[in-house]
């Protein structure tokens, strides 16, 4: 595997690194330590800048007007974009634009007009409503939200849990059981406007992310027309699988970015902080933590780049993407934990970004498929699909 970057990739990395250092970090210094957004004026100004740079809408496929980045370059950018306090969940505070839900790219032309394009223009927000109180890791079996046909409409009843942004969304992608099949072949994806009668945001759910919350939503005799089905009836899980696997790679890369920054901070601190007559960097206990960090960081980087390169070559990369996600989220958690240990009391404070990364990296081991599900994906690939 060739880990060298092309000249273009190197330049893109340097450009994003400069953008984070010059545009994001100075603004972040004046924000609340848990802030997830820039002041509107700053946000608009920086969006103009990323548009001028031609990097706005990074994840939008080229045929829909995006820059057409390959997965490796996108991962390299993600590594840089997360190297600031809010970088894990708000890389560069969204100034590189969003791409909307991956599934929308598989929508009908009418649905794209109604949901995808307004999302890309920043006019509409969507939310992804899959997980239920009965579970999220095995959604195909856990889904209890039911839909029944009534004329040219479907009527949905049920609830969803830990749904981000449902209270601010214009529409939701709702997965519901629409046949007697208890598994993945009985689930349909519906595009639902959040002002539809019967769509209720029941409560907010606070998480490790202090200023961010998830929601619980419920559907009470919610009527949805048949043309709101995304993809095919009972084939809701077949949509955008490739895109979703691909998304795990920048997700992993985001974890790695925080780890790289934490290691940089740990090294700087270890070289300058004196205790018992010498700097921390001269103490073997600290040296080994720094080395273990480096091992974790390189391991994650190799896994991410291998997955990305395979994806770019058009090879099967399901195992590699799952491995990258698992390794990066777990390794980065360890790196940040050690960096906090090296910083001592200072590491526990909100003066540094470490404590925020520490909390948010804990979520990354569960979000986008927990480590155990990533292992399950890999086991199926390694052992063959017949071993379930």
């Amino acid at each position: 595997m060739d880990l060298r970057l092309s000249d273009e990739q190197q330049m893109i990395v340097e450009t994003v690194r400069r953008y984070v250092a010059e545009e994001i970090v100075p603004l972040e210094a004046d924000l609340d330590p848990d802030a997830g957004a820039l002041a509107p004026d700053d946000f608009d100004r920086l969006v103009d800048k990323t548009k001028e740079m031609g990097f706005y809408g990074l994840d939008i496929p080229e045929e829909f007007g995006g820059p057409g980045l390959d997965t490796t370059t996108r991962a390299l950018m993600a590594i840089e974009m997360s190297q600031h306090r809010a970088g894990l969940y708000n890389p560069c505070y969204g100034t590189f634009g969003g791409a909307g839900l991956a599934q929308l790219y598989e929508a009908t032309d009418e649905q794209k007009e109604k949901y995808l394009y307004p999302t890309l223009r920043g006019e509409k927000k969507g939310c992804f409503a899959l997980t239920e109180p009965s579970g999220g890791s095995d959604p195909a079996r856990a889904i209890q939200t039911k839909g029944h046909e009534d004329g040219d409409q479907w009527v949905l009843n049920g609830s969803k849990l830990y749904i981000s942004g449902a209270d601010k969304a214009d529409f939701a992608l709702v997965f519901a059981r629409t046949s007697d099949d208890p598994g993945r072949n009985g689930v349909t994806a519906f595009l639902v406007d959040t002002d539809t009668s019967g769509f209720n945001v029941r409560r907010v759910v606070h998480t490790l992310r202090s200023t961010h919350y998830a929601t619980e939503i419920s559907f009470d005799e919610m009527r949805v027309s048949k043309d709101q089905i995304l993809g095919e009836l009972n084939r809701g899980f077949a949509i955008a699988n490739d895109r979703l696997s691909r998304q795990r790679i920048p997700y992993a890369a985001g974890c790695l970015g925080a780890a790289i920054k934490a290691q940089e901070m740990a090294i700087e601190w270890a070289k300058s902080r004196e205790t018992f007559g010498s700097v921390l960097a001269e103490k073997q206990a600290v040296q080994w933590m720094i080395v273990d960090n480096e091992i974790d960081i390189r391991h994650a980087r190799y896994c991410i780049l291998e997955a990305a390169q395979k994806a770019d070559r058009g090879e099967r990369f399901r195992t590699e993407a799952a491995m990258a996600k698992l390794v990066a989220s777990e390794a980065s958690g360890r790196v940040v934990d050690r960096a906090m240990q090296i910083h001592g009391g200072l590491g526990m404070t909100k003066d540094l970004p470490l404590e925020r990364w520490y909390r948010e990296l804990r979520i990354r081991r569960v979000g986008e498929g927990p480590s155990e599900v990533q292992r399950l994906i890999m086991a199926r690939e390694i052992l063959g699909g017949s071993f379930k």
Partner: protein, 259 residues
């Protein structure tokens, strides 16, 4: 308008640098990047060309090991082409030799304006731009914070300790630009992808007519005889706030003549 911008490619300041114990010069056998102080010159050149409604910015650089990445960064920002003078004979060249070599590469291009950073971030001699002007027998203005073109002349705001001077200067001329006076643009995605296909002309010192003993260590008129650690900064004066601290601070600043 044709603008030539001199750019230097230097070891990444973020990486720990090292001095060669024999020559007492910075080791340059590492990856080199565009000197940030030159990015201001590139930006200034691009803005002048944009304002003039036509023309182009070309780059001239001298590097020891055929390094191109710093030049590619400036090409990605929008420069049209580059000339790189690079061969092993050039290693050890002092500021005057560097100026002579750069001047030789610039001369053929017959530019309206030559722009350089006031000083590089590794060598800090701060003399090369004026030496280029002397070699080319062109007028020179140093420490420019803004340049306005009017016909065959420019008006330069020249940074001084007290403010700035306004200097009228005929063209062609050599101008050195102070760091921080413009905001260097980010290379765009398109610019980055196009940078590799832009013309980059590689030349040796011999191509420019220099004999081997006229450049490098052999041609240098200077020798670095000693390198010393920078002295530790002395502790500042601590003013305890006994209710009168603001007056003492004002007095302190007045003595420094900064207020």
């Amino acid at each position: 308008m044709k603008v030539v911008v001199c750019v230097k490619q230097i070891p990444d300041p973020a990486d720990p640098g090292a001095l060669d114990p024999e020559t007492r010069t910075l080791k340059r056998d590492v990856k080199l990047i565009l000197d940030e102080s030159d990015s201001y010159g590139v930006e200034m050149g691009l803005q002048l060309v944009d304002n003039a409604g036509g023309g182009e910015v070309t780059l001239v650089s001298m590097a020891p090991n055929n390094e191109q990445s710093g030049l590619r960064t400036a090409l990605a920002m929008g420069a049209a082409s580059a000339t790189l003078i690079s061969d092993t004979e050039l290693i050890g060249s002092d500021a005057l030799t560097t100026a002579k070599v750069l001047a030789a590469a610039i001369k053929d291009q017959e530019p309206d304006l030559v722009i350089a950073g006031s000083e590089s971030s590794d060598g800090y001699t701060g003399t090369v731009p004026e030496m280029i002007a002397a070699v080319l027998d062109l007028p020179s203005v140093t420490a420019a914070k803004s340049i306005e073109v009017g016909g065959d002349a420019i008006q330069v705001q020249r940074q001084t300790d007290a403010g700035y001077d306004v200097v009228d200067c005929p063209l062609p001329a050599v101008i050195s630009v102070t760091a921080g006076v413009v905001e260097p643009r980010y290379p765009s995605f398109k610019g980055i992808m196009a940078a590799k296909s832009k013309p980059l002309d590689e030349k040796s010192s011999a191509d420019l007519g220099f004999a081997a003993d006229a450049v490098g260590w052999a041609g240098s008129g200077q020798e670095i005889v000693d390198v010393a650690e920078a002295p530790q900064r002395e502790a500042g004066e601590v003013i305890e706030d006994d209710g009168e601290a603001h007056l003492k601070i004002v007095e302190f600043l007045e003595n420094l003549k900064v207020i």
